[in-house]
Amino acid sequence: MGLAVILIGIQFFQPLRNQADEVPATHIESVYAVPQNVKAILVQSCYDCHSNNTRYPWYSRIQPGAWYMAEHIKKGKEELNFSEFGEYSARRQRNKFRAMAGQVKDGEMPLSSYTLIHRNAVLSPEDKQDLIAWFGIMEDSIK
């Protein structure tokens, strides 16, 4: 009974949502020409935690999961925020492209805890190839 009350109680405390209406001028798609296939993968598998715009599933309102998710997104954006990519120094952008390629290649990203629920965010071998190739081109283009 006590637990039920607590569970109901915490539903009234919802974290702020990570959502934006516009694509900002600092967004990676605003500063670089992102190929369609790469863009589709980024939207599907990366932006939820690494941009200012999360596509929330219906169950994201259920606490305490919503807190967990909010914390997750906060950390993800600190590490890499595609919405602010244009604000990064050339050095940081280059580092990020390289790190992204490494993380995707090693299967570190997207996180398994995320793909466990978001099955459509799982990267196919072709997706990985496309991403790694583009990240490589971008890394080399920034000097």
């Binding site: 009350v5 607590i6 109901i8 109680g9 915490i10 539903q11 009234f12 405390f13 120094s89 050095r91 940081r92 580092n95 390289r98 790190a99 490494g102 090693d106 570190e108």
Partner: protein, 192 residues
């Protein structure tokens, strides 16, 4: 009425959990604190200067060339610590500009290496980026002695990577014992 009670209870739980969260945070910051103090001995001799920073980078390179991820964590912590206390007052405007850009990257890479105990592969990925940071730093600052750029063309699927060293001795930090001899001096950086 029920609604009110559950809301009140909810608030109470929220506040309680928030307090808990805080005390946990305090604990962990205390732990980090002890860590850094224990560590101060490790890094006591490091001067908060650019050559001192290079010294810390050297320790990190040495740790990874010995496949020692734990020592790499210590060295990376020392590196970041030195960075935070570095005196920039005597830098020229041009040096300061370069330093601001490079130091942000050194910090991020250093923090990553320090946070990746047990994942030496990831530590090495960040060492590649640190190598570039320190190369650029060596081009902007007088280190008082020459440093050598040592390149290993095999690493990272043939993309290659380099590191900097005060000696010409090859002890590859990207492969460690697996291929410690991979690398050759490709440049001597000496500022006059």
């Amino acid at each position: 009425m029920k609604y009110v009670i559950s809301t009140v209870l909810g608030i109470a739980v929220f506040i309680l959990s928030a307090c808990n969260g805080n005390s946990e945070k305090k604990n962990s910051s205390a732990e980090t604190h002890t860590d850094t103090t224990a560590h101060a001995n490790h890094t006591a001799s490091t001067e908060p200067t650019i050559p001192g920073l290079f010294g810390q980078y050297g320790k990190l390179v040495s740790a990874l060339s010995s496949d020692d991820d734990k020592e790499a964590v210590f060295a990376a912590q020392g590196l970041v610590k030195t960075l935070y206390s570095l005196d920039t007052t005597r830098f020229s405007a041009e040096q300061l500009k370069a330093y601001k850009d490079i130091s942000a990257s050194i910090e991020e890479n250093g923090v990553h290496i320090a946070a990746n105990l047990g994942n030496i592969h990831h530590q090495r990925e960040h060492l590649v980026m640190l190598g570039e940071d320190f190369y650029d730093l060596a081009k902007s600052f007088d280190l008082g002695k020459p440093v050598y750029k040592i390149a290993c063309p095999k690493f990272n699927d043939g993309k290659g990577a380099f590191w900097l060293s005060e000696t010409k001795e090859i002890k590859n930090p990207y492969y460690g014992a697996k291929m410690q001899g991979c690398g050759s001096v490709t440049e001597t950086i000496a500022k006059n």
